[in-house]
């Protein structure tokens, strides 16, 4: 940092409110696409795994490897193929959500008590009805717990996508580092954390609203 420079220059913030708003919006969109598509892919894979449990090992192995690749390296590896594009950013971000989401969806479905499943079949539910009307509703709390972790993780990771020119709050962090200027760096970091906390809280509320039976007590 430049000596004598204050940690935060409030006048910079006041002058850049529009840019800050734009970066927040970019960040939310990047995260939303990643978690949304990640959820769709994970959901399909999970349903398949529940029916064919022998694929659980291979799928978690592949997504686990994906999860451990450092994000910078992953983006660098993708650039030759997909360039400095949104696609590059999202491939990475989506890849990181899969392990968490698949694990939670599968274990959520597997945690449905055997007697509940047996009662459903015994009363004449079809396999499809058991899945949609019994297993998925009961797995919802665990699934949303997975979505919370995946979302918070992705909000953090999205700051890196600024490196490949996709904006988001990481832009400020990058700017702060390059200009030895602490204000945008702090603004980017604090807003990213705040966004994560707010979205996480919102998802808790969504979960309570969707699963009223978990909070019902006599």
């Amino acid at each position: 940092m430049t000596p004598g420079e204050p940690l935060i220059r409030w006048d910079w913030i006041a002058r850049n409110l529009d840019a800050i708003g734009q970066r927040i919006a970019e960040h939310v969109v990047l995260t939303g696409i990643a978690v949304g598509i990640g959820l769709l892919i994970s959901f399909a894979l999970s349903i398949w795994i529940v029916r064919q449990p022998r694929w659980y090992g291979p799928v978690t192995w592949v997504t686990g490897i994906l999860y451990t690749i450092p994000s910078l390296a992953l983006f660098a590896l993708l650039i030759p193929f997909t360039g400095l594009s949104l696609l590059t950013a999202e491939i990475g971000l989506i890849g990181y959500t899969l392990l968490i989401l698949i694990r939670n969806i599968v274990s959520g479905i597997q945690s449905v008590p055997a007697d509940v499943r047996e009662a459903a079949l015994g009363m004449g539910y079809t396999q499809r009805q058991v899945l949609w009307q019994v297993e998925l509703p009961l797995a919802l709390a665990v699934i949303i717990a997975g979505v919370r972790i995946a979302t918070v993780t992705t909000i953090g990771l999205t700051t890196v996508t600024a490196l490949i020119g996709q904006g988001g709050l990481g832009y400020f962090i990058l700017e702060g580092i390059q200009r030895f200027f602490s204000t945008p760096l702090i603004v980017g970091a604090v807003l990213s954390v705040t966004l994560a906390i707010l979205v996480d809280g919102a998802l808790v509320l969504v979960q309570r609203w969707l699963t009223p039976w978990t909070s019902a007590r006599s």
Partner: protein, 411 residues
């Protein structure tokens, strides 16, 4: 029961269906279809449950009773043989269609935690596509039938109910679409003994109203004797050891296994199946309040005790004939009221227990309005047991027709 009784007209009009196992064998594991594989979970099971009866499958764990039950709703498919409902081979019916016509209650109840009590009970009607209004009124009717307040529990979740209430809801859910057959797998196993007794009685009452055919699995021989019109005792390896009404099982166990399984106290168990109405009562010497002692003594002849009745014929108590002075009249002050009182519906087991505990050892039997009808002594109870225990010689011959109605009469 009463076919034209009000409130249950629709249900009572429906009859239970017969259920038949025809040489049913189930083997699990590799090669099962070729007659190899593991030893049979169920071995050549043949039995017929007549419409409207409660058939209890009982036996130690591993005897194949639950497997047999699950072959009725095709949660398990037989390796060999057929299961027929009302004469129709169920393997020709689509499993989901079949199951929606069969009530199913399991020990853990399996209520859907994410659905309200009302939604749980409405499960099968919803699957069958009943109109909303009909489902709603049926749910309320059922909740009332099982003794819960519809307004109070309809919108609550299973986690908010007690174990006994959840069990009742499980039964209501199974009955919702008025199935002609109900399967119950240890339905009263998860509640404490006091609640269990009450639920069993409630279910017997419900069953009398509904006339559904019931197959019930238990490992508890007392429950089997109490609930069953017929009891199928199964033994390890999936063999049917005996299939008979409870009284018949207790009186004539088919082999050592059955005798051991029903227990050495089977005499007492049989008494629980018999009521005071079924025995030949003694006549006590009786006299009316206000009657001259002299005439009472004359009629009592040798009797040491005279039963004093009030003007309506209700017993006041016993008077010791030898302590009476011949002058004057009888009044209730002299009567000792400590004798046990029975009604025709009292079981002989309860009667015996009360007789043994009382000082008098002679019980007074009264009718519904409390009027004296006869006296019950230990000798009478003993004679009843011996009379029914000793089988007529021909009943010892294997395969001879026994008395299939014993179980009914006893209840």
């Amino acid at each position: 029961m009463q076919p034209d009784g009000k409130g249950t007209s629709e249900s009572a009009a429906r009859q239970g269906a017969s259920v038949e196992f025809r040489h049913v064998t189930k083997r699990f594991g590799a090669g099962a279809a070729d007659g190899k594989g593991t030893p049979g979970a169920v071995n050549d099971l043949s039995l017929i449950v007549p419409p409207g009866e409660i058939c209890v499958l009982v036996g130690p764990s591993g005897c194949g009773k639950t497997t047999s039950l699950k072959m009725v709703n095709r949660l398990v498919e037989p390796t060999e043989g057929q299961v027929l409902i009302d004469g129709q081979d169920i393997s020709t019916v689509r499993a989901t269609v079949l199951r929606r016509r069969i009530g199913y209650v399991i020990q853990q109840i399996g209520l859907f935690p994410h659905q309200t009590i009302g939604e749980n009970v409405a499960t099968v009607p919803r699957l069958l596509g009943w109109p909303k209004e009909r489902i709603r009124s049926r749910v309320d009717e059922l909740l009332t039938l099982i003794g819960l307040d519809p307004g109070g529990v309809r919108d609550r979740y299973p986690s908010q109910l007690s174990g006994g209430e959840r069990q009742r809801v499980g039964v209501a859910r199974a009955m919702a679409a008025e199935p002609p057959v109900m399967l119950m797998d240890e339905p009263f196993g998860a509640v404490d003994p006091i609640v269990r007794g009450r639920l069993q009685n409630e279910f017997l009452r419900l069953h009398q109203e509904l006339g559904t055919t019931v197959l019930l699995v238990t490992h508890d021989i007392d429950e089997a004797i109490k609930m069953g019109d017929r009891v199928a005792i199964m033994q390890q390896g999936g063999y049917l050891a005996q299939y008979a009404p409870p009284a018949e099982l207790l009186a004539n166990p088919a082999n050592d296994f059955v005798a051991r399984f029903v227990g050495s106290d089977r005499g007492l168990k049989r008494l629980a199946l018999m009521t005071v109405a079924e025995v030949d009562l003694r006549e006590a010497a009786t006299a009316r309040v206000g009657e001259p002692v002299r005439s009472a003594l004359a009629r009592a002849a040798e009797a040491a005790y005279i039963l004093l009745l009030d003007m309506d014929g209700r017993p006041e108590g016993w008077v010791n004939a030898r302590r009476l002075r011949p002058e004057g009249t009888l009044d209730s002050e002299a009567a000792d009221p400590s004798s046990p009182i029975f009604t025709p519906a009292t079981t002989l087991r309860d009667a015996l227990s009360m007789l043994l505990a009382s000082a008098v050892q002679t019980g007074v039997v009264v009718d519904e309005s409390g009027r004296y009808v006869g006296a019950l002594t230990l000798e009478v109870v003993g004679a009843a047991l011996r009379g029914a225990t000793t089988p007529p010689p021909e009943a010892l011959t294997i395969g001879s027709p026994s008395e299939p109605d014993d179980g009914h009469a006893a209840r």
